[in-house]
Structure formats: C-alpha cells, structure tokens
C-alpha cells in the first residue's frame, strides 16, 4: 500500500479515536478523582442520593416496556407496508419513519402540548400531565405514582423508535423470494398459519426483530429530553448524569455528584456494551437469512387485496398510527398560535395569537433570542456538515477497502489483519451513537473543558459533539452504496488513464451523489436537533443552540404568557427545517435501503 493511501487509512481512525476516547478518558479520570471511588463502587452510591433512588430500576423498566410495545406496534406496520399494495404506501412509510430524525426536544414539547390542558386529550378526560380524572383514579386504585407521566414517556419513546422496527423488518419481508413462501405452503410443515410462523417467519424475522429491539432499548435507555420533560419527578441514569454533571468535576464540593455520574455512566456503558455485543451477534446470524432474498432483477408482485374485514381493521390501525405520528407535530405548530390570558382574578383561558411568532427575534432569555439561537444552530450544523460528511465518506471507503483487501490477502495473517481493521473501524465509528449524547457531552465538559478551560471561548467547540454523533449516520448512509458500486467502473476509468484522485472526483463521487445528499441531510438534521451533548456542554448562554434554547424557555417561570407560544414557534421552525431535510433524505434514499438509517 502506498504511503498516501496508508495515511488516508490511519489518520481518520486516529483522529476519531482521539475525539471519542480522549475526552471520555479525561472525564472518567476526573470523575474517579473527585468521587474518590472506583467506577464499580460508585454504582452503589446512586440510590443514596434523593434524586437517584429508583433511577436504575426506572431506567430498565421504561426502556424494556418501550421496547416491547414499539416492536408489537411496529410489526403489523412493517408487514403491511412490505406486503400489501396500498395507495400511497411510499408516503405512509415516509411519514411513519419521520419521527426518528425529529429533534428530541420537538418530541418532548409536542407531547407536552398534547397532554396539556389545551391539548386534545384533556377534553376526552385523559389528563396525563396533571393526572386528574381517569388517570388519577388509576393512580389512587393501584398506588402507582404518576402513571400519566409514565404513559406519556412510553408513548413518546414508541413515537420516536417506531421507525427502527419498520426499517429493520420491512426489507426482509418485502425482499423474500415468493417461491419460498409458496413452497412452504405446499408442505405439511407449513400447511397452516402457525406452522408457517414457526418454520418460516420466526426464523426469518427473529434476528431483525431482536436487532430492532436492541436499538430501541438503547435509545430508550439513553433518552434525555423526553424523560426531562415528560416524567419530571422520575430520573433515568441519563438524566442523573446530565443534571449532576455540572458540579461533578469540582473537587470536594462535587464529590456526591461525581459519585452519581460515575456510577450511572458505568452502568450505562456496561449495558450498552452488552447490547452492542448482542446486536453484533444477531447481525451475524442475520446473514443466514440472505439467501431468502429476491435475486437481482426479480421483483416482488404485491397483490392488490380487495376490501375485507381484515383490510378494514388494517385501515383503522394505519389511520390510528398516522394520527399518533402526526399529532405531536401538529400540536407543536398549533401551540405556537395559542397564548394563555388571564380571565378575572384567578382564571385563565387560551386565545389564538400571532405574538409567539412576532416575538421570535425579540423575546430574549439569557441574552439570546430564538433567531440568534437558530443562527448558532445553523453555524454548528454547517461545521458538522463540512467535517462529518468527508470524514464519514473516508471511513466508509476505508471499511469497504479493508474488507476487499481481506478477501484477496495472500496470507492468513494479512487477511485477519484487514478483516479486523474493517470491523474495528466500523465499531469505532458507531461507538458515539451507542454511548449516549449526554455521556459525550460529559466527556467534553468534564474531560476537555476541565483540562483546557480556554476551549470554552472557542465558538466551534460545541460542534465536536455534533460531529461525533453525526458521523455514524454518514457512514451508515454511504457504506451500503460504496459496497454496491460496481468495481469495474473504477477499473475501466483507470484503463482510460484516470489517476486515483480523478477517479474519485469524476467517477466514484458522482455515482455516490444520491447517498451523499442523504448523508449530508442527515448530518444537518442530527446537528440541528442535537440536544443531550449540547445541553451538558453549553447549558445556557450566548452560543446556545435552538433545541437548548427552547428547553431553557420552557424552564422559565410561567408568568410570562409569551414564553410558550414563542418557544413553540421556535420549535415549529426547527421542525420545518428538519422536515425539509427529511424529504431530501427520502427523495434520494436508494431503493430497497433498509436496516440502515
């Protein structure tokens, strides 16, 4: 391998390893010093703090219930989208998978708007926020504290992660060779629905169901904005880390905080590592299902089913899910036009108004307006785009090349080296996605800022977290496209006299233009919506991003009636930008893409 090529292989790995592991190392070292405990000893300290009591149990319970319900609700959608010829099927799929790219703060304020007294559920007697009416009665009868908050959190997690079940399950269902299904129907081992389930569907789908479950579990386990706003009286490990992280780096004063953060981070890392190992094992098993797939050029004929009782049930189910997916987004937009006004001495009522929108550039909190926060966000997003996209492309190319070199390596040692180099790079680049955003933020704030305080003066500093979180999405968008590129194109170009750089710019990159647009749109959307890491690093201040600023506005004492409509108007702007980016992703997403983002 030539020196230049070798440098292109090694430099991104070293740079990314440095950006991911060095802050984490510094952060953990700092925490261990301040906490005066080992990471494992710190686990036992979590329950000793008032806010930490029950946090471990709550985190595992909410993540498990969210996962089970998301999968159960998602399977019928994936099945129907893959196998029935519905009018507008493509658009329905796009709508159902849209929440996954929405900023978590939008989901949080959307569900807040839905469950508030001005929302559509309150008049139906479902009060999840104040927990009066039927929810209050459930609480009284069962002794369950805050059931409304818990239900809202689970619903929000389902809303967010439904896309994972659809993306993981739809491809194997729609790409299944129809002859396989037909042949099992003709055998005694598949002559009824139960035997087909046992002998075909479960073996085929279980690796994908399990992979979707693991991913949903990780995202529910590490969710922060939703927990912070929807279950204000309950703490997850992620929320504990975020809210105790500010003081955790201060010697003596922050000892208790450091113990909680260290213990939470340790449990979280162990849980995520176990989940990732499980996911890796499942994906290897998933390889066995590949021969099921349709061969190239073969197309699945989707029969148009006539109206029947089953199709009426399906239609009802789809409409319910459609309302569920769209309701929080509509609620955000609607709330931007609603303002609380006083009636009489004690009463309040809600009125329609445009003042929320007209206050976007005037209502200031911590000397920042929504418009200024939006421009900060756009700046970080532009920087993320400039760095994460080229870095992700180089990583994807390196992983693919290493795999190819491993295939033709002449010695076993070389083959193993390149194989594990590819796997190692893949793991490295996915690592920031697996560890939580808050943990990345803590690494940056407790590790880098405590070691080099002057870094906080650099405007670009918060973008480090965004780049780390966006790069995995870029790699996952580009890698399948690079793998499917016909290698003969590059060979033919070489025979025409084009050098490696020319081949890259004239052949490879133009062929990858669709996936690059997808990756760029995702990188922008991820950066614009990033909340956990930025919240920990910035808290508030002049360089606050739009999601963090919306969060701050909601934290503001409620006497100013303009706060909610203005924050909702800001959230609507963020939602609109994300929607445009999502449309770009869907427009340029290669056909049949699934299992990736």
């Amino acid at each position: 391998m030539r020196k230049g090529a070798l440098l292109l292989h090694v430099a991104p790995t070293l740079l990314f390893s440095f950006l991911v592991f060095f802050p984490l190392y510094l952060g953990f070292t700092r925490l261990i010093t301040v906490a005066e405990l080992s990471p494992f000893a710190a686990i036992w300290q979590i329950d000793s703090r008032p806010s930490g009591i029950g946090a471990i149990t709550f985190t595992f319970i909410e993540a498990s219930i969210s996962t089970i319900l998301t999968i159960l609700l998602g399977i019928p959608i994936a099945w129907t989208l893959a196998r029935d010829n519905w009018p507008g099927r493509i658009y329905l799929r796009a709508i159902f998978t849209m929440p996954f790219v929405m900023p978590s703060i939008i989901a949080a304020v959307g569900f807040l708007a839905l469950i508030g007294t001005d929302g559509p559920l309150y008049p139906l007697g479902i009060d999840l926020r104040q927990q009066s009416g039927i929810i209050g009665k459930i609480s009284d009868a069962t002794g369950w504290e805050n059931p409304g908050h818990f239900i809202a959190l689970i619903a929000a997690h389902i809303w967010f992660n439904l896309a994972l079940t659809i993306r993981f399950l739809e491809p194997p269902l729609s790409n299944l060779n129809p002859n396989i299904e037909e042949s099992i129907k003709l055998l005694p081992g598949g002559n009824n629905i139960f035997s087909r389930m046992k002998n075909l569907w479960l073996p085929l789908l279980s690796p994908n169901i399990a992979a979707a479950s693991v991913m949903t579990f990780i995202f529910s386990f590490t969710s922060f904005a939703l927990v912070r706003w929807l279950t204000p009286s309950s703490f997850t490990l992620e929320r504990l880390m975020a809210e105790h992280g500010g003081a955790a780096g201060i010697p003596d004063y922050g000892m208790g905080d450091a113990q909680i953060v260290l213990g939470s981070a340790t449990i979280q890392l162990i849980t995520i590592m176990i989940s990732l190992i499980l996911l890796n094992w499942l994906q290897k098993r998933n390889g066995a299902a590949m021969p099921f797939a349709l061969s190239k050029g073969q197309k699945r004929q989707i029969p148009y089913r006539e109206m029947s009782f089953a199709s009426i049930l399906k239609t009802f189910y789809f409409i319910s899910i459609l309302i569920f997916v769209l309701a929080p987004l509509i609620a955000v937009f609607r709330s931007s036009f609603r303002m609380r006004v006083r009636t009489g001495d004690v009463g309040f009522t809600q009125q329609w108004t445009l003042e929320g929108w007209s206050s976007l550039s005037t209502l200031s909190w911590n000397q920042t307006t929504i418009t200024e926060a939006l421009f900060n966000s756009l700046g970080y997003a532009a920087l993320t785009l400039l760095i994460a996209v080229p870095l992700g492309i180089i990583f994807a190319n390196n992983i693919h090349l290493s795999d190819e070199i491993a295939k033709i390596a002449k010695t076993r040692r070389k083959r193993l080296f390149w194989k594990y180099w590819a796997r190692g790079n893949d793991f490295l680049v996915m690592f920031p996605l697996a560890i939580s955003a808050v943990l990345i933020g803590l690494g940056v704030s407790l590790g880098l800022l405590n070691t080099w305080p002057s870094l906080s003066q650099r405007w670009w500093f918060p973008a480090i977290g965004h780049i780390l979180i966006a790069t995995p999405f870029v790699v996952r968008s580009i890698l399948p496209a690079i793998r499917s590129l016909n290698p003969d194109y590059s060979k033919a170009a070489a025979l025409l006299g084009l050098g490696p750089i020319e081949r890259m710019f004239k052949i490879t990159l133009p062929l990858l233009s669709g996936p690059i647009v997808v990756a760029s749109s995702l990188a922008l959307a991820i950066s614009l919506g990033e909340f956990g890491a930025t919240w920990v690093v910035l808290r508030n201040g002049a360089s606050s991003t739009l999601p963090v600023h919306i969060d701050s506005l909601f934290s503001k004492p409620g006497f100013d009636p303009l706060v909610t409509p203005t924050a909702m108007a800001g959230a609507s702007v963020l939602m609109a930008i994300t929607l445009i980016l999502y449309v770009m992703v869907e427009k340029y997403r290669p056909d049949g893409a699934g299992g990736e983002f």
């Binding site: 060779n177 002859n179 003709l186 005694p188 081992g189 002559n191 021969p291 099921f292």
Partner: protein, 214 residues
C-alpha cells in the same frame, strides 16, 4: 383397462389486465402419468402450474383433482407438490430439517420414525449421509434432489416441476432427469414438467403437451 384420471382441467381462462395467458385451456392427466408441457417463454406454462397449485385464481373454468373441483381449496390443502425453478430450500435448516418439513405429523409417527423416513429418501436419491449438511454447501444438482425428496415426502397426489433442471449443465441434467423419472415411476406418482427444452421433455415424459402463445 383404462387408467384413472387424476387431474382434469376444463376450459380454464386466466388473464392479467388485457393479456390473455390461458384461453379455454383443457388437459387430462392419468394417475401415474408423467407429462411435459412444452412451449416458448410467455405461453402460460408457469401460470398454469400456479393455477393448479392455487397460487393464482382462474377467471373461469374448472380444475378437478381426483374428481373434486379445487376452486375454493387453498394451496396448502390441495395435496399438490411443486419443485420451483429457483432454489427453495430453507437456509436456516439443514438438509434433514428441510426434509422433516415435508413429512406430515398427522400420521402418529414418532420423531425417530420421521428422521428415518428422511434418511431413507436421501438414500433413494443418492445422497446418503447428507442429513446434517448445510443447504448452502450443496451443489445445484444436490439441492434439486433434496427439494424433490422433500416434495416426495409430503406424498402429494401430483408433483409439478417448474423448469427445475434449467440451471444445470447437460450431463448432470440428463442424469438427474433419468433418476427423477425412475423415482416417480417406482412410486407411481403423477408429474407435470414445464420446460421449453424438447430434449428434456422427451427424456422425462410419457407424453408431451405443446403450448403456444395466445
């Protein structure tokens, strides 16, 4: 003595949009008879097999199996076996697992008896000792044999073969055609082969039925 008619196809029609694929098609097949449907691509051979299985609904006409009209019988209850053009061995099961799917559990047979049945048929198709083999490791010819064995184990009234030999090289194809024919004859199983290869049809079938485009 005339043989018993096992399959009667009476004036069946099948069309896709404006394309008439089968137009008043008729055919009678006797018990134990092996026939070949010979015709060019697009003449409706595969569509006819799919109609026989019940994967496609016919527009009009009748399909009678042992005298009974199959109109409202789903594919899984028709007792018809089929070997497809593409490989349909289930990759998550080994050879034995695939064969066991073909054996009915309704005959009060024990697991050991079913395993023995699977081993016996492997011997009959010349694949002794292949029970634990991964299906991905089988050659094209071996995979075809296992599929045929799996279909035979389900004891169908009639076996449909949709160009199962088309992807094999000539020597292997001829040997497999002869072996398959011998096996079907020994077991007195009725079979319909779809092919566009005259030599294949002549080698395999008792009777050749020509089909042409509508």
């Amino acid at each position: 003595m005339s043989k018993k008619v096992i399959l009667e196809i009476e004036n069946i029609r099948k069309s896709y949009l404006d394309n008439n694929v089968l137009n008043d098609y008729c055919l009678k097949v006797d018990e134990g008879e092996i026939i070949a449907l010979l015709g060019p691509s697009g003449c409706g051979k595969t569509t006819l097999l799919r109609c026989l299985c019940g994967f496609e609904e016919i527009d009009s006409g009748h399909i009678k199996l042992t005298g009974k009209d199959c109109a409202n019988i789903p594919p899984e209850s028709r007792n018809i076996g089929m070997v497809f053009q593409s490989n349909t061995l289930f990759p998550h099961k080994n050879v034995q697992g695939n064969l066991l799917l073909g054996i009915s559990k309704n005959k009060n047979n024990t697991t050991n008896e079913r395993i023995e049945l699977a081993s016996n048929i492997l011997g009959e198709i010349g694949l002794d000792g292949f029970e634990k083999r991964n299906v991905a490791s089988l050659s094209g010819g071996e995979a075809r044999r296992v599929e045929l064995a799996r279909t035979l184990l389900s004891e169908p009234k009639i076996i449909l073969l949709d160009e199962p030999f088309s992807a094999l090289n000539k020597d292997l194809k001829n040997k497999l055609i002869r072996d398959t024919r011998d096996l079907l004859k020994i077991k007195n199983i009725t079979a319909i082969l779809v092919t566009h290869d005259l030599e294949e049809a002549e080698l395999f079938a008792d009777r050749i039925v020509h089909m042409s485009k509508q």
